[in-house]
Amino acid sequence: MVLVYSDNKKITIEILSKASEIAKEQKKKVTAVIIGKPDENLAKEYISYGAEEVFIAETELESFKSEEYSDILASIVKETGTETILIGSNKNGKELSARLGGKLNAGCVVDSNNIYIKNNKLMAERVVYSGNAIAVEQFNSTPAIITVPSKAFDSLKKDDSRKGEITKKKIESEKSKSKILKAHEMKSEGTNVEDAEIIVSCGRGFKDKGDIKLVQELADILKGKTVGCSRPLAADLKWLSEEHWIGLSGHKVKPKLYIAAGISGQIQHIAGMRDSGIIVAINKDPEALIFRSADYGIVGDLYEVLPKLTDAVKAKMG
């Protein structure tokens, strides 16, 4: 059986398409798992996107804890003899998968965007060394756990005529010794760099928080409207929220056009934007690393270049 789980519906639906492909080759069934309240509508939706079975693990648990969720998944895996486990690669999903791997002594590969079967072995590829290489990982045993980031695979076309079985079962989990005291959504301004077509990013080359308006103005003129930033601006200076942070430990983006101003181009930043269409760099240091990762670059002071570039783009776009 190929098991699919994520607390994020969109990722679950995307993974279901890959799961169907793997299941066909392994001559197994695709089962989507829902943990929590029995949501039959959600189960039906998963079926319409390719799940052949939906297993609803009914629990009284109020919130997500890896300790308890991994316990539930471990019981399901053992009970059903699941061989392949695909889990959504958000932070919950990653810590859940790794703990599940520990509990089941199962191999686990996180953040894979290419999964296939070769010589009867399950293979998963992932980016390593800050984007310098792709590791091809081969599973030597089952169960095998793989986490899949959002947008790695296209979902199947929704088809309401697909049939599937819905199983509901109460599953007890071991009570965790941890307690969630508080959980709230991070304040969101609705910025979504991952979906943006054009991003203008700023880095430590900016002297003051107020100067970020220079990138915002260019982004607006480009009709991209999306501002990104390097780690220090979000993590250390907190001039921008997490939503804007691009890189290895931030968001991975692939816009058509990525403009980096006052960003040095350290490998951890490049790791988040290397798949962009066209990359433009503005930096006053001609030796800056960012120029090596850029299609076009302007050596100059961003305080002079950005306003002029904004005007020139405005003129060009009419």
């Binding site: 990653k94 810590e95 791997g101 509990k103 060394y129 005291l181 480009l222 990762s293 020139a312």
Partner: protein
Amino acid sequence: MNIIVCAKQVIDVSEMKVDANTKKPILQGVPQKISDIDKNAMEEAIKIKDKHGGKITVLTIGPADAKERIKEILAMGADEGILVTAPDNIDYFMTATLLAEAIKKIGEYDMILCGEASIDLFSGQIGPRLAGLLNIPQITYALNVTAEKDKVTAERNMGDMAVTTEATYPALITVTKEINEPRLPSLMQILGAANKPINEWTADSLKSGLKPLVETVELKGVSMERKNIVYQNDIDESIGKLVDSLAKEGVIGR
């Protein structure tokens, strides 16, 4: 408070070169260091020890030359080092199993601190895997940690959620890079570290016959072909050329 810090020796990714023909990374000869975020874990351990007293043990699974790196952590303030020498083709299952066995051998502990991920492969598996094997609570992605006598609390960055979690001891915590600024040891501390014990255990003595469940069968190169057209001269002229190029590329325009 007995604290175990797990630290990994990694290659310095920013010093890595790529073969011009095959585009494959060249792993030989790259300088080695302790993974950055593991130093944040160590810094946090020192702060907790300063408050509650106790002992900090740094635990590394790695090649024999990792001993030199462990000395850096001892210089920061760890009391004792343990190096479990392990084969090259080790996977997360083996690493976590060896860590768990080593920790059982160490005996009593209250807290295990790890980095959220190592900077070479950035999987973030070891902390949660280890917690699963030891069957203790895990607090991941900590932005700050408050250790009290009988419980520990941390604020965590879970992406779109900010979560505050509390656990009793023993507990495993993985920290983010934002949690603190790791100290640079003084010359005195570096010299002093030479006298601190580093025990070497072999993987086989902890658990024999371990085989990887996941094998890296190939490292493929990634081509980063970019045009690298850089305008250096007159700013106005440069901007004119850039805007024309972008229009031709079809990325700006109506």
